[in-house]
């Protein structure tokens, strides 16, 4: 069996089997948050893990996806589901516009450009109150899918529905990312990650590939923002905040930015940790910082790949 199928099976097994251990609906809520974050982080894997580019403003795309679900139904009369797709298209287009000039350059320009973009989006969401209703946030209409399921006899509570729905989207997202990994594009991306000059000499269009990775990862972030807004039924500009961008990158790096499964575990750990550590709430940031630092020092490839390597080493 190929690594791709293992990853997908593990993810699907987690989504399906975990509920057997859930004592209450609250665990479904945490689970669905993990999947939503996992989806955004899968996008980061494509951008950072495959193509070796860093974005510090991915929450900006999450913000676009989230606010699309709030605004498009009001102003354009779109169904919230279509609004999420519109958000993804807009995010992809913005990523393309920004990425096209910036990704022709070598170095850290994308990080700086996206940093600016993220802050810009969150400022627009907070300040253009006539459109977004400002920093206090705005309601998001119901997706209606849960009601539709109920009509055909599948009765799920809201947290349960969002758990399985986000889980499904995550598995689909992982499937796309893994297919990309094994495609010629994916191999070319990893080649340019290894050495941009070498990749260029063998005829890889470096700028175009990086742009592709950036646009795809923006769409992932946008969809995760939409999922979050739809399940919360309410969204504030915090979703596009700088800390959210950092969180995404941290999750990817912690779990292992080069592997979809690793990134998922990063998302799972950083989403669950604050829930387990409510007693130490005041020290949460310190704990996160510490986990991050230890990880960087001792497990530079991220948690999952490092652990797997250690296990494999013992087998020999």
């Amino acid at each position: 069996m190929r690594a791709k199928h293992v990853t997908l099976l593990v993810l699907a097994a987690i989504v399906i089997a975990s509920p057997f251990f859930f004592p209450s609906n609250y665990y479904y809520r945490v689970g669905s948050l993990i999947f939503v974050n996992g989806l955004a982080v899968t996008g980061i894997v494509i951008l950072t893990g495959y193509a070796g580019q860093i974005s510090l403003g991915h929450a900006g795309f999450a913000g676009i996806g989230a606010y699309a679900c709030a605004l498009a139904p009001i102003h354009l009369g779109l169904h919230p589901g279509l609004a999420a797709i519109l958000g993804a298209v807009v995010s992809g287009a913005i990523a393309w516009l920004i990425g096209r000039p910036v990704l022709r350059l070598k170095g850290y320009y994308l990080a700086v450009a996206t940093l600016g973009l993220g802050i810009l989006v969150s400022m627009i969401l907070a300040n253009e109150a006539w459109l977004t209703r400002g920093p206090d946030g705005i309601e998001v209409p119901d997706l209606g899918l849960n009601d539709a399921l109920e009509a055909i006899g599948i009765d799920l509570s809201n947290p349960q529905f969002w758990y399985f729905f986000s889980g499904l989207v995550l598995v689909l997202g992982a499937w796309v990312a893994l297919n990309l990994h094994n495609s010629p594009t994916g191999r070319a991306l990893r080649a340019l990650h290894g050495s941009e000059i070498a990749a260029r000499t063998v005829g890889i269009d470096v700028a175009r590939l990086k742009l592709q990775a950036f646009v795809i990862s923006a769409v992932y972030a946008s969809l995760s923002g939409s999922l979050l807004a739809l399940q919360n039924k309410f969204v504030t500009p915090d979703v596009a905040g700088f800390m959210h961008s950092i969180e995404m990158v941290t999750m990817a790096v912690l779990g292992g930015a080069a592997s979809v499964l690793g990134a998922f575990f990063g998302a799972a750990i950083l989403t669950t940790l604050p829930q387990v550590l409510t007693v130490f709430q005041e020290y949460e940031q310190i704990m996160l910082g510490l986990v991050m630092m230890l990880c960087m020092i001792f497990m530079r490839d991220g948690l999952l790949p490092s652990i797997l390597r250690a296990l494999r080493g013992r087998d020999k």
Partner: protein, 378 residues
């Protein structure tokens, strides 16, 4: 395997809080994060009041367990904690939502689970339109605007300049003020804004100063912004009456802006600030005094208006629990809605099915700062 079991036990311990008391109340407030100066006194107040009530024998002989979470002002976290309170801690009522954003994210959860919820946030949209399970204790920002405009009208002021923060509080209040200002025959000639962390508002105030015909200035914001505005206002010698919002109604504002700059500043505030100035037969006077004394004794500092909101929320809930004589969320909700004549720090609360706030403009006191102290404007 042993370590795995140990981990599982640890996780189980961390994820489930054993709430074996008779009455379980949940709260999620912003003890840390950008709204900490609101959430911190709220959390302290709730802890103090639960302790006191339990020491006095609880409600109808039943002890109260408070499960308190800190959402850090993040609406997403607030929603997760609300879900946790409802589903995992199985509370019978929730207090919280320090900011409008966190409150509005909690609302769908409590409506879904049918658990009564008393919010500590200001915006009018929390209770208008009325939501079956949602109540709140602070004045709405619209009421603050109306109180200020009422006072302006009494002074014969008809043309004003506004300067507002772009944060949640300022943006929402600005919008509400612009909506009701026409009712008082007052015109807004200048409408300036500043970011929540700006350190100098001289340019905006200069614009206002240079606008001909302005007779007074209204600053809609809370936090550090109003202190800066007030100081700049004095430095520029604008010389017109300055009105602040209820958001700055704490001693900290006078300390930050200085007694000299705050001289003559007017704002709507709660009875909590002027406890000793209230008339002897005022029903709020004993409540306010008791709260100030207890808070002072417990934490060594004066309580703020925001702690007062939590005080009132808990008082309303305790009163409802005592009357309901049941811990069924539906009975508690009905009892909250029947709250009548309950004196709190913010006002005398009488809820109805159409009014989940329970008091009107008269609950606000118009205050003026003189020599670094609050005085009542008659």
């Amino acid at each position: 395997m042993k370590t795995l079991t140990a981990f599982a036990t640890l996780a189980a311990l961390g994820l489930t809080t054993a709430a074996q008391a008779d009455i379980r109340i949940g709260a999620t407030v912003s003890e840390t994060g950008p709204a900490a100066f609101l959430g911190d006194p709220e959390a302290k107040t709730l802890k103090m009041m639960v302790e006191k009530l339990n020491a006095a024998g609880g409600i109808n002989g039943e002890m109260i367990a408070l499960t308190l979470y800190d959402d850090g002002g993040d609406p997403n976290k607030a929603r997760t904690f609300a879900t946790r309170l409802v589903e995992d801690d199985e509370v019978q009522a929730i207090i919280g939502g320090t900011t409008t954003g966190t409150t509005m994210s909690i609302v769908p959860v409590v409506e879904d689970a049918e658990i009564p919820f008393i919010s500590l946030a200001g915006a009018i949209e929390i209770i208008d339109p009325v939501k079956e399970w949602v109540f709140k204790t602070p004045h709405t920002d619209r009421m603050a605007c109306q109180k200020i405009f009422e006072d302006m009208k009494a002074q014969g002021i008809t043309k004003i300049g506004m300067i507002s923060g772009t944060g949640g509080f300022g943006a929402s209040m600005r919008e509400q003020c612009l909506e009701v200002v026409g009712d008082y025959g007052i015109e807004v000639l200048a409408d300036e804004s500043y970011g929540p962390t700006d350190a100098d508002m001289t340019p905006q105030l200069t614009n206002i100063k240079n606008t001909a015909g302005i007779e007074a200035v209204l600053n809609a914001d809370f936090g550090q912004g109003p202190s800066v505005v007030t100081r700049n206002y004095q430095q520029l010698a604008v010389g017109l009456p300055l009105y602040q919002s209820h958001g700055v109604a704490s001693k900290g504002f006078i300390d930050l802006a200085g007694a000299e700059a705050t001289e003559g500043v007017r704002l709507p505030g709660t009875a909590l600030l002027v406890g000793d100035l209230l008339a002897g037969d005022d029903p709020q006077k004993p409540v306010v005094q008791a709260y100030i004394d207890e808070y002072q004794a417990a934490y060594g500092e004066a309580p703020s208006t925001f702690g007062g909101y939590a005080h009132d929320a808990f008082a309303i809930l305790a009163d409802a629990l005592a009357r309901a004589g049941s811990t069924d969320p539906e009975d508690i909700r009905d009892a909250i809605e029947q709250t009548s004549g309950l004196a709190g720090t913010t006002g005398v609360v009488t809820m109805t099915p159409e009014d989940h706030l329970g008091f009107d403009l008269s609950a606000f006191q118009m205050l003026e700062i003189q020599n670094g102290n609050w005085t009542l404007v008659q």
